[in-house]
């Protein structure tokens, strides 16, 4: 939210008041007190501080394969607690059926597990949930945390680690080659 729409409203109100005064030739209008409220723009940001590229150099068929290092995520906000109840961080794949693809095959998001020990999925959970407040994809999302907003933390941030793994148990033997995919992280207020 920027100040521009509110500034425009103030200008329109001022114009209306001035037109009324001009129409009253020879009359003095009653003095009006106009309260101006300036509210700074809300801020909500997500930064991947490390681990933006996750790599498994040698996959093992029919086994759980963990990505060696976590994704370090920093989430910051500056919100009005009277108008925002919480902040959610969501991880999602744009195309859940093809979370990773390459070498003539695809790995669905159901085979990609995420864990955030400081968040909601404290145990490894398949990325198969639905969107949160419109953020994410059906069957390809995972809510990582819900942060309640109040007066004490209306301007704050938090740091979390996201651990990822591929569960290839029972999955057909992968052809040799490299698969790639993109996991999106996005925060949303509610």
């Amino acid at each position: 939210m920027t100040l521009a729409p509110r500034a425009l409203l103030l200008v329109l109100l001022g114009t209306t008041a001035a037109r009324g005064a001009a129409g009253q030739v020879g009359q003095l209008g009653q003095a009006q007190i106009l309260s101006l409220v300036a509210v700074g723009p809300s801020v909500l940001g997500v930064t991947v501080t490390s681990g933006a590229v996750q790599s498994i150099p040698s996959l093992t068929d029919n086994a759980v394969n963990s990505f060696p290092s976590p994704v370090a995520v920093s989430t910051n906000w500056n919100l009005n607690p009277g108008q925002t109840a919480s902040v959610d961080l969501v991880a999602y794949f744009p195309v859940p059926s093809q979370a990773l693809s390459g070498a003539g095959t695809q790995i669905p998001s159901a085979r990609v597990l995420g864990r955030m020990t400081t968040g909601l999925p404290v145990a490894y959970t398949a990325i198969t949930q639905g969107p949160v407040a419109g953020v994410g994809t059906a069957g390809g999302s995972l809510r990582l945390f819900t942060q309640t907003i109040n007066g004490a933390n209306k301007v704050s941030s938090r740091n979390d680690n996201l651990d990822l793994r591929l569960d290839l148990t029972g999955f057909p033997t992968l052809p040799a080659g490299t698969l790639s995919g993109t996991l999106t992280l996005q925060a949303v207020t509610q």
Binding site: R6, Q30, L44, V53, S55, D61, L174, P175
Partner: protein, 157 residues
């Protein structure tokens, strides 16, 4: 009643109405952020995921003399693989090896040995065109008997 040059007339705005408009406007201003902060989203951030399934070839030879060769090879890499037999000591034994397609057994193609450590090619399997993953079984045998150790190795090229 006020008049403007065009001849149109309008009533002056009563102060009560003016106050009501101002109040409504201010309420509208104050209400604006409430709807804006619900569903406020951050910029999306991307995490790239890469996972590599390495090429692999396995060769097993149980006592029945049937060599099973299984492969899973990145088609972007080699074009063929070759199974070779090594004999580490002088021995004279005629070897049988396939020259046809998978599971085909051909007549002997050569000797497994000379008086020096010997190598013979048992088959060359093309890779690609859908043959990146596969398995074949080949018989390695010969008349008579010989002592010594036989090493089988697959190489790709």
């Amino acid at each position: 009643m006020a008049r403007v040059p065009g001849g149109l007339s309008f009533s002056p705005v009563p102060s009560d109405m003016s106050r009501a408009c101002l109040t409504a406007g201010i309420l509208a201003i104050l209400a604006a952020p409430a709807s804006a902060q619900i569903g406020l989203t951050s910029a999306p951030r991307s995490v790239s995921l890469l996972a590599t399934r390495q090429s692999s070839v396995t060769v097993t030879m149980p006592d029945d003399g049937i060599v099973t060769t299984a492969w899973n090879i990145d088609p972007a890499e080699p074009l063929a693989m070759t199974l070779r037999a090594f004999v580490g000591q002088p021995v004279l034994a005629r070897g049988r090896a396939p020259t046809g397609g998978a599971k085909a057994i051909a007549r002997l193609t050569g000797y497994l040995t000379t008086d020096a450590p010997a190598v013979t090619v048992l088959f060359t399997q093309p890779i690609g065109g859908g043959g990146e993953q596969g398995e074949r079984q080949d018989e390695v045998s010969g008349p008579g008997s010989a002592r010594g150790s036989l090493t089988l190795a697959v190489t790709t090229q």
